[in-house]
Amino acid sequence: MRNEKELLELINVHLDPPAAEIKRKQNVSVSIKQENLIQALSFLKSHSYQHLSTISCVDWLDEGEFELVYHLFSYDDYINISLKTRIKREPGVFQTAKEIWPVAEFYERDIHEFFGVEFKGNDNLEEMILENWQHLPPMRKDFDTRKFVNDNYEWRDYNGQKHTD
């Protein structure tokens, strides 16, 4: 049973993160260089952080980067770690975490579908949610859903009044 401070210490000693902070009670956020991330995941997994909640992806368009966030939880410490790393938006390639958590395969597939990030080592990246999608991956910031809808669907006509936000 560690508390947040002891956990940060452990991370600082072993993983050499550029930034690590206690966000709230029981919530820790750690930034990791992308080349260290896979190693950090397996390190934390062997230190009781066995539960991978999910993998989130954030598109930072202005900075030209994707941010991948791995949310881990420990059933011993009751602490949630958000492990963040940034990768270049172009070409948007990263390592898979499938070897550490098999279930990550599907989270990566989801991110690939909605952001277009490639995960090296994960060969199961086909379309899962969408069907016959020909455009930009929809969750990217430069995909404009309203324009897409205006181009592809017709609005119902209410006596000439258009639908507005």
Partner: protein
Amino acid sequence: MNNNFVKGSWQEILDWAQNKSINMLHYCTGCGAIELPPTMTSRYDMSRFGIGPAATPRQADMLLVTGYLSTKTLRRLIYTYEQMQAPKFVVGFGSCTINGGMYWDSYNTIKQLDKYLPVEIYIAGCMPRPEAILDGLLKLKKMINNGEADGYKRYEENLEFYHQNQEAVLGEVQRTQ
């Protein structure tokens, strides 16, 4: 003349039987499906109006489109509709089927169901209460009894229009019976 009269009366009898016995296809296309169990079970019990669930498209008369339709579901819905046997009726359920509703700016849901399938009646609301559902279904029954629910005929007549719209959103659509 006489023959037509007999034919007409027979059709009226069939319409009457149809309005008294409607089998609803059990296909939860969207979140409106959560209000169907209360409507079907003890509290509101739509079986007293002769409306019951059917397990497969072949046995069903009514396709209840419960809420928003993603394009992926629309494809299955079209296959399902084409598998059903005439007379068949489509009921649009919830605001999302009318004009996109809450998801008006979503890239993956269709905005007007009646462009893709012939809709007999819409039940508005997000989501409609069981009372509203029952009211809508009773109206549908009345329409069937009067012979006004002719969506399947409209579908046959305007096949090109519907197919065009379907293919505009979905790309290629398989046409099988």
